[in-house]
Symmetry: C2
Subunit: 364 residues, 2 copies
Amino acid sequence: MYSKYIFRQLYSQTNNLNIFFKRCLSTNYGLVYEQYGNPLEVLKKCDISDKTNRSLKTTEVLLAYKASPINPADINTIQGVYAIKPIFPAIGGNEGVAQVVEIGSQVKNLKVGDHVIPSTSSSGTWRTYAILEDKDLILIDKEIDLLMASQLTVNPCTAYRMLKDFVNLNKGDTVVQNGANSAVGVYAIQLAKEWQINTVNVVRDRPDFTELKQRLLSLGATYVITEEELRQKDVMEEIWKSIPKPKLALNCIGGKNATDCMRHLDHKGVMVTYGGMSKQPLIIPTGAPIFKDNRFFGFWMTRWYRDNSGNNERHVMMKNICDLIRDNKLEPPKSVAINLDDYKEAIEKSMAGYSNTKYVFTMN
Amino acid sequence: MYSKYIFRQLYSQTNNLNIFFKRCLSTNYGLVYEQYGNPLEVLKKCDISDKTNRSLKTTEVLLAYKASPINPADINTIQGVYAIKPIFPAIGGNEGVAQVVEIGSQVKNLKVGDHVIPSTSSSGTWRTYAILEDKDLILIDKEIDLLMASQLTVNPCTAYRMLKDFVNLNKGDTVVQNGANSAVGVYAIQLAKEWQINTVNVVRDRPDFTELKQRLLSLGATYVITEEELRQKDVMEEIWKSIPKPKLALNCIGGKNATDCMRHLDHKGVMVTYGGMSKQPLIIPTGAPIFKDNRFFGFWMTRWYRDNSGNNERHVMMKNICDLIRDNKLEPPKSVAINLDDYKEAIEKSMAGYSNTKYVFTMN
């Protein structure tokens, strides 16, 4: 059976002998955990060839992962403190980019060699090989740099959907956001610029504020202000003289700062919460929903993919985003590649507090 | 001119000589204020005959008010602490029922003798006569008791709209509400019962809790619990064994209790805030909007009327409510009639803290 499998692989992989030989060298493994805990302790490098060394069903696709980032949510999932609760034994990782190695007989939209990203959450991307259903894969442009490609599923798509799905934004409208230098925030600035939407971007005051402000302005931010400035009536009145009040507020902070943001929302304006970095709840003065008709929603990319799994909109979104990347309209995040074999070092660095740098596993 | 006016009135009022003679006796007055302040000080009884002793325009209607309640929002408006800011001099009062005395030549849907309620907010209903546009009047069933009729605009309609407009409630679904013994809360219980929707009704603990519970159960409440019980896991788990988790939460309290209510909301469940009796803001744990997809809206009946002024839905709603009243399916609020002449006494009593009794001015 195994020799038959190798022969089949060899046959289908003549254009990718490198992958073939690496697989033969028993490099079919993943970072597996069987209980919640400190990722440095519970994650083990395990052989998972039993999961992939079999014939494909008609709609299945055999993938060779190329790159997969370490996101804070991945760490939290392993710690058992995230909303996603995997079934043990589980493989770490949520995002990643893979190359198609083999396709089932009924797979129509993908071919061997394509680059794809999984749209199911926490499918376990810290691995070398996987078999997934074709419906759970999104084709992406092969020209996109692999480190960037591996980070498309969550951050740029979160910014994209929040700007698209909650209010009808027209050219010249305004969005206010806090945590504007977060990964999602930076994509929101760039997408809004592309769509001619004004952004008022709130960040914490910091020693290098001027530098950060310049960077965000260069990416297309309309205004960049500190949390303190957001509370200064004269600063804000000056802004609202030149652009309209926001129809939309994006909130990843919560607490006092989120309340300060919502005070500037226009009538019927919407606040979308996608994070709570202050660890404080959202605090809404009663008058905002009653008299100003402000509305409050949440957004979670994982749910969006779940609710839209059979929906072509996933592909439309990803094509739009890939086109913008290829046209240099979306700046790639600062990423450092690190081999999956060196996972302990990478995870340790990722967990070592705040950093602008994303560590991305590379494999195959 | 005046004699011509009297003659015209006499002619159109042969079926209501009582009103006619009272108007001739200079009983055309209202409770007027020219500045914000303590209602007992700033409200004055003033002759307002200059506002009504004139010919009607084609779409205008001359009304004789019959009854008008004193609501907390009326007091707050005069104090200058409500969201509605009148133009001075202003006449107090927002709700009321009036009889049509005369109609303009183009008024088609109303006739002399009809009972109507104004749908514009704070039109000034603490008065004997008024001229309003026909589009700002809603016809109501003449059989409805006048004290009840005068209180239809806000409370029963607020309950009605909140149950209709935010989530699609089907038979057997559940609504949770705090402040369930408020005027709106009691209507929500009765409307939900009529529509076969379960209600979990939260009230503050109090010495007469058992009596209140019995009263709300007799009106159709499915469960009546204290704020403390709402926080007891075993109590709530028992309830969710017999009815589904709520799709909708109605909140007029805010603060901790609103947060306790939202914890029981189903996935995608909606909380509608229509009051903030605790004077505490709405406090939303970040996970509720992000991971449970809970949504948070506000409701203000005044805005609904403004947004639906040309809309037949006003009439549909009022007919539904009047039909339920006539069929004894909506219990009238405890009301005490008091003549508009005795306004000082009535306002003093209304401002004297918490009371289940509503004071209603009567005139004409």
